[in-house]
Amino acid sequence: MADTLTPDRLTARHVGAVYRRALLAQIRAITEYPGDFWVMASAGVMWNVLQFAFLTVLFAAVPEVAGWRYHEMLMLSGLLTVAAGSTAILCDGIWSTGQMVLKGEIDYRMTRPAPVVVQVATTHIGMQGFGEVGFGLVMVAYGWIGAGLGPASLPLVLLGIVCAVVIECALITLFCAVNFWIKGPMSNFAFVMLDLQHHAMTMPLGLFPIGVKVVTMFVVPVAFVNFVPVAALSGHLAPWWVIGMPVAAAASVLAALGVYRLGLRSYDSSGH
């Protein structure tokens, strides 16, 4: 009764296939509640329409904020929205880590031949992500064209988007994994990070004290999600800063996987 495939170690191909199938199953399940899909997707769009409106209203009164102009600020907001919206599509389930630890729902996932982090990440899809990514891309494109950046910068924009998505997913995973130790149903650390990003990182870093810059670049590298790529594109930072994006992405992924793994080691299940 031997199965055809019983690898002792996970291959990237197997993990990728498990991830893809679990996510596709979730996407198919969306059709079960079309009403919710539209409410969630339009909520995602609405946040960003209003962010767009805020910037438009603001820049009708002022020419620039800390040296940043309207279209650059649009890209800043747009890129963050694309990154945050992507996490809702790609790894929304990771927000349940705390809940699962509390209820012992990691148990089954540890008995299956696939990484636990992948299994947890794919338990849910945040349907607002579709609206956020869609409208975020519109904002990025509108800002990019409006700022007069030529097609030559397109590869850099694409690299920026990919790195932004990777960093954002990794950092949210990392902060959700805190709940392995500080038990609770709410992923407060990830939530605080995301909310502070939406407030502070949609602004030029020059507004804030130097400490903020250091922390967002070198401690919790959220600056590499949107600030660094847009600043490098628009000349606020030297071009060589773009090297930092893939570096930050790799570091964030390694840190997130490491912390999640440590969390699983100290996992005590529940109800002994």
Binding site: Y33, V39, F54, A200, M203, L207
Partner: protein, 265 residues
């Protein structure tokens, strides 16, 4: 008097205590509200360094931002989920068999949960006061009327929240509805940017909605941007919205509850 509101008080007290149990939420609310406040302060200090914009100088903007923090903390920190969960998990069928008015009971609970955010507000305001030293109210009377408008925010927030929570009779989840409401509230209340910066047509849209009373009304009274008659007018409008939403919610609820009784929850 005591007996007439005994039940409401009990509901409010339970909701208040339940919120107190989540001590982590206080810290989270303070970090989130405080963070947003600091970002706004940083931005406006930079923008207003060269002088007033749309009638706001750096002095008045500091008070404005703190007022926005107060209402944001109270409104976003309330336990709207509890009402939504009752509808989504079918608990409402049990509630309807109880000899209490559903809407009134939820109002008491909701307001109880709003009161539990007061410690966060106090700490935040105290910190902001020490850091930014905002100007006092334009007149003592303006200060008093500002307090009245803050008090009215409690039932107004309930009416708005409850009306949107009732959408859960038609959806499976509440999150999206909540986000929509919070996004609209943040923008049209003037929390994100004062309404005075908006083009007149957008201001007209805002004033046709209940949202401005969450920030613009108390701020305008406090800063003396309206005279006493204007302040009373704003308070009247705020009160009218409170009543309108309360009775509007009753109509929607009666309609929605037919769904429950027909489909058995």
């Amino acid at each position: 008097m005591t007996s007439a509101f005994a039940v409401d008080r009990a509901f409010a007290a339970i909701a208040f205590k339940r919120r107190l149990a989540y001590k982590a939420q206080w810290v989270v609310a303070l970090v989130l509200g405080g963070g947003a406040m600091l970002v706004s302060m940083a931005m406006w200090r930079e923008l207003l360094a060269g002088g007033a914009l749309s009638g706001y100088d750096w002095d008045s903007m500091r008070a404005y931002i703190i007022i926005g923090f107060v209402t944001a903390t109270v409104v976003f920190g309330a336990a709207d989920w509890q009402v939504a969960d009752r509808i989504l998990d079918g608990h409402i069928a049990v509630d309807l068999t109880k000899p209490v008015d559903f809407q009134r009971a939820r109002a008491a609970e909701y307001i109880g949960s709003m009161v539990s955010t007061v410690p966060t507000v106090l700490v935040g305001v105290l910190g902001a006061w020490l850091l930014f030293d905002p100007p006092g109210p334009a007149t003592p009377l303006a200060g008093l009327l500002t307090a009245v408008s803050f008090v009215l925010v409690f039932p107004l927030a309930f009416g708005l929240t409850y009306l949107t929570v009732l959408v859960c009779f038609w959806t499976k989840r509440y999150l999206g509805v909540m986000w929509l409401r919070e996004a609209l509230l943040g923008f049209f209340s003037g929390m994100v940017i004062p309404l005075a910066f908006m083009p007149s047509w957008l201001q007209a849209v805002a004033w046709a909605l209940p949202f401005p009373h969450f920030t613009t009304t108390p701020a305008a009274i406090y800063l003396g941007r309206v005279d006493t008659a204007g302040a009373l007018g704003l308070l009247a409008a705020e009160a009218a919205w409170t009543l309108g939403l309360w009775f509007g919610a009753r109509i929607v609820f009666n309609h929605a509850v037919k769904k429950v009784t027909v489909h058995g929850g």
